[in-house]
Each structure stands twice: as C-alpha cells, then as structure tokens.
Amino acid sequence: MAKVRLTDNFSGFFLDLGTGVTISKGDGFIEAPDTIELHQAVSNGYVDFENEEKEKTQKIKEGQEVWVFAEQRNGRIPQVVFELIGKARELAKKLNVKAGAVLLCEKEKDMPGELIAYGADKVYLAENPLLKNYNTGVCTKVISDLIKKENPDIVMYGATHIGRDLAPRIAQRITTGLTADCTGLEIDDDSLLIQTKPAFGGNIMAQIKCPDHKPQMSTVRPGVMKMHEKDKGRTGKVIKIMVDLNENDSLTRVIEIVKENKCVANLESAEIIVAGGRGLGTRENFRHIEELAGLLCGEVGASRAAVDAGWISKDHQVGQTGKTVRPKLYIACGISGAIQHRTGMQNAGIIVAINKDPNAMIFQIADYGIVGDLNKVIPQLIEGIKR
C-alpha cells in the first residue's frame, strides 16, 4: 500500500484505483492498493505519491510570489484570469512559492472564493468605490504600490483591453520589463521566467527573459493557457489591502460605459469551432458555416479575409489580429492557412481542413484534410450529421 493523491493533471472529479477504491478531488493523500489502475494513473501523471521527506524540505517559501491581476467588470471575472491562475499555480509550484491574485473592486461578492477555487493561495483584495470600474490611473497606483511592498517575482495580466492598458503603465512606473502576448511561460534552471511570444506576425517565435528587474511581467491572450478544474474545497487567504485614493489619482474620467448589443462570439471557450474564409466566395455561402456550427453546437469562426469581406463581424475573427482559440475540434473551411491565422488556432485538439486547393497551407497542420468544393462538401457533411 502506498499513499497517493490526485494531481492537477487529472481533469475529472474522481478516479477509480481498482478493488473498489476511488479517489476524489480534495481527498488529499489516501491509501491506495497496488493495482493496474494505479500504475496507469501514475504513468498518466494523474496521481503522485506521498514522500514525507520531500514534503518536509519543500515547505513553501514566503514572498517572491507569482501573481495574477484579476480584472473584473461589474463583479464578473473573465475566464482568462482563471486560465492565468492555473499557470500561476504551475509556476509557483516550480519555484516553491505561493500563487496570488490581485483583485480591485467596489465590493468583493464571491470573487475571492472563486479565485481560490481556481488555484490562488492568496487573494490581495482592495475594495473602494473608486475601484468600481477600471481606471488606468487608479489601478496603476494601487498595484504599483502593492508590488513595491510585497515584491512578487512574477506578475501576469490578461492581454485584454484592460490588461494591455494597465500592464505597460505599471512596468514603466516600477521600472521593469513586460512581454506582450506570451504563448508559453516556463521557469528555467536559474529560476528565471522564460517568456515565449510570437513576433513578426507569428512568423517567428522569440524567447524573452527579464533577468535584472523584478517582478518579471507578462500579458497572455485569452484562450492560450489551460484553465485548471475548479476545486471548491481549496482554501486560501484573503488579504485586505488599504488603499488611499482620491479623485486626482484617476487622471481620466469614465463618463459612460456602453454595452453594444453585439452578440459577442465566445470563441475562447468553445469546444467546437467551424470557421470560414475567403474560399467561401459569398456571404450566402458563409451561411453554410453557420448552419454546420449550429448543428454541432459550436461557434462560428472566420479568417481575416472573411471579416474584411463583411460576411461576419470582427469578434468572430481567429488569428494574430483576432482571437486565440483551443477548441477540441476546429473545422477550417476555405481558409488558406496563412501564418497569421494559424497562430490563433494551431493549438486546437483536432484540425479538419476543407479546401479546393490541395496545396493550401492549412493542410500542413490539419489532422484531416478534404480537398473539394466547399459548397458541396459542407452541405454533404450537414446531411451526414443530421442522419
């Protein structure tokens, strides 16, 4: 018998270890029988063994934490924050430090609990009426002061309209480096953060480090990092931070927030995306894409060419200047597969490409390719699925 526990690699709720023993999330270490199921779970990385000596020497360090800026709008935290907390946990584990989230809001509601459930050990919480809506000046002041006080090792921000406005301002105030739109974040042998990012329109990748300034800061686009399973049983600490703010700190004033009634495509969390490009030829033909997506309960994606042609709105655009997605299935229809598009979808689980040009670049990364006329293939697919 050995003591094992579930790791973050396991995405389900419980795992059968054979001979009637199951292990659930939040169980901690339990006695497990020596079964084939256990061996399999170990080789899949779903469980790890208790190693008392290791546990003792690896007592988590105080300070030098890995932080995520937990942006919120109207008391709602976007998914990218939870994705980043998952990454922060991994990095913190490697560095043997705590993962923290920084939450600025008017009223906390249930947000700190949510951040902890997704993997934060600590939530730094500032509550103030001036923090109700995002404001560049105010947020820069609060976070810069907190960074100076707590000296985190790493701070990550979602590459959102808020994160990309805020992070550079903070980097300049506290004199540190910032790397935009990272697609990979790893710790090297010197405990430095290695930040991988596309450059030159995704044609090349660059690895960036920030060796002499702290914290090391990155922005990451939504959909790039994988969210960990929510664990309501996790515990963490909420640290209230006192903020001394007045109207002069804001520099700008938000007069009004206008929610446009555009039904924003939720591509980042879609499991299936059917995307169309220039090859469709007309707006009419583009409707086939919508029909197929609807049938598969998926979302509609598009290449830049299809958006520029006015067949669909910009929030459906996938790629360098659009969204980064990682669905289980991505069906690219009439998309040639320029690097700018591939950057946004190459992490999809299964890529299916349909194109009449057998030499289209999209086939280079497709798991399954169909060479043929879209206007015949897609209706046939629709009919086949319906049947």
């Binding site: 560049t136 309209h161 990309r164 992070a167 550079p168 301002r169 980097a171 300049q172 105030r173 540190t176 480096g177 910032l178 935009a180 739109d181 290695i194 450059a199 030159f200 329109g201 995704g202 044609n203 090349i204 990748m205 660059a206 960036i208 480090k209 920030c210 002499d212 300034h213 520099l251 700008t252 004033r253 938000v254 007069i255 927030i257 206008v258 929610k259 555009k262 924003v264 299936i272 049938l295 299935l329 690097i339 950057t343 190459q346 299964i350 890529i351 299916v352 086939f363 280079q364 497709a366 798991d367 399954y368 390719g369 169909i370 043929g372 015949k376 293939v377 046939q380 697919l381 086949g384």
Partner: protein
C-alpha cells in the same frame, strides 16, 4: 494646438514568406511601411487641424516613413537616430521618445495602438507614464472640447466614453479613420521639408534608460515555430469522405449521435 504623432516603420508582415524547404523566414525583400495604425494616428492629427509633428525612432531609412507622413500633410518631422537607441525594448523606447517630447510644447500625443511587427501595444501607455500624462488607449472616436479630450475607448463588448484633460496621450485603432492618400502636391512639398535627425545627446536622453543594454527584457532565443505535421487527406467521392470524417469524429467522441 500642437499634436505629436509617434510613428514606427515596420516590415510588412503580411508579405513575409517562409522558405518551404527549411521553414525559416525569408527576410530579404520584405517591403517596409508605416505601421498601419500609426498612419491612422497621423490622419487623426490632421483632422484635428493642429500643428502636426511626427516623431519616429529608428535607423536612417525610417526617414522614408516620416517623409510619407509629411506627404499626408504633417508639418514637422523628427527622427531619433543613434546607435545608442538600437535594440531598445518598449520600456527604453518610451524613455527615448519621452526625452524628445519633453523638449517640445504639445497638447496631445497620438500613437497607433500597436505595431504589426511586435503587436505589443505597450509603447503608448509606457510613454504616457514617462510623461505623467493621462492616457486613453484603443480609441475609436475623438472629440476635443476646449482643454479636454473625450474619446470612445473600445472594449471587448462595447465601448466606454472617457474624458481627460489636455495634455494627454491616446492610442488609436483602425476603426477611427481611414488614412488619406498623399496628394501629388503633398508628395512634392514633403521633399522640401526638413526632417530633424536627433541623437541621444541632442535630446538629453539618459544613456542608462535607452538602448539594448538598459532594456529590462532580453531576447534569449529566436526560432521558427514548429507547426504540427500534416495529417491524413481523406480520399474518395464527396459522400464517402464526409462519411469517413463523421465516423472519425464520432469515434473520438468529438461529436455525438444526434
């Protein structure tokens, strides 16, 4: 009203090709252009009818970009050109631009939201912080009201209307304006205008805040992304290939029985 517009000369990344054999980037012969959103910034400044000063940092050939902005109608042009600036990251670039702008009298600074070569969108906000100015990024509409700017700032699901006192810095998106083409007269007169070329010493830049060595971020390695390898092409008549695909997706439990 004095308006400073920051522009960057960039390789046209849409025309970059990779060598199909080696998979590496073909850098030769890639045309350089004014970064598209910086051109929108020039257009925005021109439409506000101020005295428009275009500012760039880069190698001597970046003069071409400034010349193009002059041809569109900008009044003055300045190029920060010095090996001491070479290799600056966004932090150091913002410091150099700030050093130059501090010597000017200005009411508004306009930058493009981001450049197509790095896509960072960082220099605008970093410059605003260096000059302790209010910033409004992702601007898709502007209005000047006496000493205030009121801007529509794009959000993921709409926009917000933000007000700031001048002087301020804004970064603009493509949605704001379609940049004009230079007129023949504009092109001719652009060649009569002088482009001021300035060194680090000329603008009094602190050498510890500009250039490669001072930049907090360092490039460790550059590599060509390894795309995943090609999978299988499904062969046969349309009906057969569609059926094959549906079977595969069902087997993998990606699509369920309907």
């Amino acid at each position: 009203m004095n308006i400073v517009v920051c522009v960057k000369q960039v390789p046209n990344t849409n025309e970059v090709k990779t060598d199909p054999k080696t998979g590496t980037l073909i850098r030769e012969g890639v045309p350089v252009i004014i970064n598209p959103e910086d051109k929108v910034a020039v257009e925005a400044a021109l439409q506000l009818n101020g005295n428009v000063i275009v500012l760039s940092m880069g190698p001597p050939q970046a003069e071409e970009a400034l010349r193009e902005a002059l041809a569109m109608g900008a009044h003055e042009a300045m190029l920060l050109c010095d090996v001491k600036f070479a290799g600056s990251d966004t932090w150091a670039t913002a410091n150099a631009l700030a050093a130059a702008i501090k010597r000017l009298s200005y009411d508004l600074i306009i930058c493009g939201r981001q450049a197509i070569d790095g896509d960072t969108a960082q220099v605008g906000p970093q410059l605003a912080e260096s000059l302790a100015l209010p910033q409004i990024s992702y601007v898709q509409k502007i209005e000047i009201n006496e000493n205030k700017i009121i801007a529509h700032r794009e959000l993921e699901d709409g926009y917000e209307i933000v007000e700031a006192k001048l002087p301020a810095l804004i970064t603009v998106t493509k949605e704001l304006h379609k940049p004009r083409y230079a007129s023949l007269h504009g092109i001719n007169s652009a060649y009569e205008k002088e482009i001021k070329v300035l060194t680090a010493k000329d603008i009094g830049a602190d050498e510890k805040t500009v250039g490669l060595k001072s930049s907090p971020t360092k490039v460790k390695k550059i590599f060509t992304p390894q795309g995943k390898s090609a999978g299988v092409k499904l062969e046969g008549d349309i009906k057969t290939v569609c059926q094959k695909l549906i079977c595969i997706l069902k087997e993998k439990e990606i699509i369920r029985e309907f």
